[in-house]
């Protein structure tokens, strides 16, 4: 049986755009049918914004690549109609073990908070995510939604014009011109779009190589994340073992800087390393081997006029903490509703600058965290290794040292503190976690969950408070969701949204982030908050 990454899922087909005398202009063109490009396309298409995705390939990515998906991206995928297959197929894990030298120094439990529909993390090969996203695109196409993936279509040239972006696309049947009112570049860390536009991508290079191997084995290792510092089977380096579905295990071995990359990738060199790690008598099969290095860097700006960068094309982090694909999904979650409003003429162009402000903030947070993890995992000086080893030695005996152990600070959703779209917090006694800029935390509501009822539009969430069912401000419709603390007997709604307040009104953005909140409904102030959240009112 062929594996999913061996099957063409969007083979090249001739487009009518190739046979026209003049270039056809599309509202939105997305470059790259990876997870971020597909998420952008689905988000647009399910809200009836026509979108064309170009990809030079015709199938999902080879090898597991991104394998760890956090709760917030799963919630975003729920909004895109792909969350359930991810959770059904993915492996849930909560326990992590940390080893130093020959011994286990401690273990931890992620102890996920109760009252969320989605787990803290699942492990799943990236090719499954891409497969589910392609399937979702096909379903949308079948429903008549305006979405198209053009495989075998390589971007050769991109030119920014005043009112559009001119593209030259290569196909197996020759080149053709195409135009986009808006271009979203989701073409990865090596982004050809970015290179063709001559844009910067600076940051810190980490001088290290990592061997990444997907191994198929029938092993009785538990479903846990195991991380080794300086293990006997990889002296002076680190190692990671993580379970994926289908009996596939992700193994990550740090190799150091001065190595022969081609030699290290050969099975005759990889297999002895893995045997030393797994035990001589554990039978396994190699599914995928790759060697990677990494950088922590970002573009200075993610928006360049009508060209917008999302995912790895805009920012790159080390893999520690699973902040790559997870943050890319938060990029398009942030971008698409804004782009839709701008395209529809319901918000000014400058609303898109807030994408830049908010996601640059998110990228900086991810770069900071993943750089710190990398500095702990691969100490850059003698003294940083001494301090690192001191932390690990102490962590075996004393709880205080365990929070200092940094084998990756796992991706948490970004709070857009200080965003120009936020109104000042006006909910006295309100919980900090739901202040303006925060992503809405989930809450159980009987048989369903709160986040199921939020998203894709502006929502006025009222808790034990009167308000109109609908409010229209300058083309933006806000729909009320009326709740009462009695809707959630577990008390999570009150704890997460009221705190010490007796009632609350929240203005929630289409990406499920809080834009404004206060203790009672006040029409004028709410109208101002809506204007601000759509880029129509600057913060004084």
């Amino acid at each position: 049986m062929k594996k999913i990454f061996e099957l063409p899922l969007y083979a090249y087909e001739r487009s009518p755009d190739q046979d026209t005398a003049h270039a056809i202009r599309h509202p939105v063109v997305v470059i790259g049918a990876g997870p971020i490009g597909l998420a952008a396309a689905i988000d647009l298409a399910q809200q009836d914004v026509p979108v064309v995705v170009l990809d030079e390939n015709d199938r999902v990515s080879f090898g597991s690549r991104a394998i760890c998906f956090a709760k917030r991206p799963l919630e975003i995928l729920d909004r895109l109609g792909c969350g359930q297959p991810m959770v059904d197929k993915g492996v849930e894990w909560e326990t992590g073990k940390v080893f130093f030298d020959e011994r286990q120094v401690y273990e931890f439990n992620l102890l996920p908070e109760e009252g969320h529909e989605r787990p803290a993390f699942i492990n799943l090969q990236q090719y499954y995510l891409e497969q589910y996203l392609v399937e979702r695109v096909r379903d949308l196409e079948a429903e008549g939604k305006p979405v198209e993936i053009r495989g075998g279509s390589k971007l050769l040239r991109v030119e920014a014009k005043d009112d559009h972006v001119a593209l030259l696309v290569d196909t197996p049947e020759g080149e053709y011109d195409l135009q986009a009112e808006w271009l979203i570049a989701c073409d990865g860390a090596g982004s050809p779009t970015r290179a063709m536009l001559g844009l910067d991508f600076v940051g810190r290079v980490f001088e290290d190589n990592f061997l990444i191997a997907d191994v198929v084995m029938e092993a009785d290792f538990p479903t846990e994340r195991w991380f080794w510092f300086d293990p006997p089977f990889n002296r002076g380096q680190s190692a990671l073992l993580h379970k994926q579905p289908d009996g596939v295990w992700r193994i990550d071995l740090q190799l150091g800087w001065d190595i022969d990359r081609d030699a290290e990738k050969k099975p005759e060199n990889v297999i002895p390393r893995l045997k030393a790690m797994l035990g001589e008598d554990v039978p396994f099969e190699l599914e995928w081997v790759s060697i990677y290095t990494f950088q922590c860097r970002r573009m200075e700006k993610f928006r360049h006029g009508r060209v917008i960068f999302a995912g790895d094309s805009a920012h790159q982090v080390s893999p520690f903490g699973a902040r790559g694909a997870n943050s890319g999904l938060q990029d398009t979650d942030n971008l698409i509703w804004k782009l839709k409003l701008v395209i529809e003429g319901k918000a000014p162009d400058r609303l898109l600058d807030s994408y830049d402000a908010e996601r640059v903030h998110g990228a900086d947070e991810n770069i900071l965290n993943s750089s710190r993890s990398t500095d702990f995992i691969t100490p850059k000086s003698e003294i940083s290794r001494i301090l690192r080893d001191a932390v690990l030695d102490l962590s075996e005996r004393h709880a205080f040292a365990r929070p200092l152990v940094n084998s990756g600070r796992l991706s948490v959703p970004c709070t857009y503190s200080g965003s120009p779209l936020n109104s000042a917090d006006a909910l006295t006694g309100g919980p900090a976690r739901t202040c303006p800029g925060s992503p809405c935390p989930d809450v159980p509501l009987g048989d369903s969950f709160l986040l199921r009822q939020l998203g894709d539009r502006f929502t006025l969430l009222t808790i034990d408070c009167d308000a109109p069912e609908e409010l229209v401000e300058d083309g933006i419709t806000v729909t009320r969701l009326a709740l009462s603390t009695s809707d959630d007997p577990t008390g999570a709604l009150a704890e997460r949204y009221l705190g010490d307040a007796g009632s609350a009104v929240y203005l929630i953005r289409p990406d499920q982030h809080v834009a404004a909140r206060r203790g009672d409904y006040h029409e004028d102030l709410m109208r101002t908050a809506i204007r601000r959240a759509t880029g129509k009112e600057s913060v004084e």
């Binding site: 001494i386 301090l387 080893d389 001191a390 932390v391 030695d393 102490l394």
Partner: protein, 65 residues
């Protein structure tokens, strides 16, 4: 306003200093470095207050606050 105590605060200062030297006795340079690193971490955790720790980092670098 310094929260870091920079005036004499250890009763029996000579005894403490002797204990510190004794802890390192017979250790190799690498073992001593490791011991010092563990000691710093233990003491830093005991202090806990980030402002005090920041002041201590500055004072240890022989800089003025």
């Amino acid at each position: 306003m310094s929260a870091l105590i920079l005036t004499p605060n250890i009763a029996g200062a000579d005894d403490f200093y002797a204990d510190l030297l004794a802890a390192h006795e017979g250790l190799s340079k690498a073992e001593s470095d490791a011991l010092n690193a563990r000691l710093v971490l233990l003491l830093a955790n005991h202090i806990g207050d980030r402002a005090v720790l920041t002041e201590a980092l500055t004072a240890a670098a022989l800089k003025d606050a």
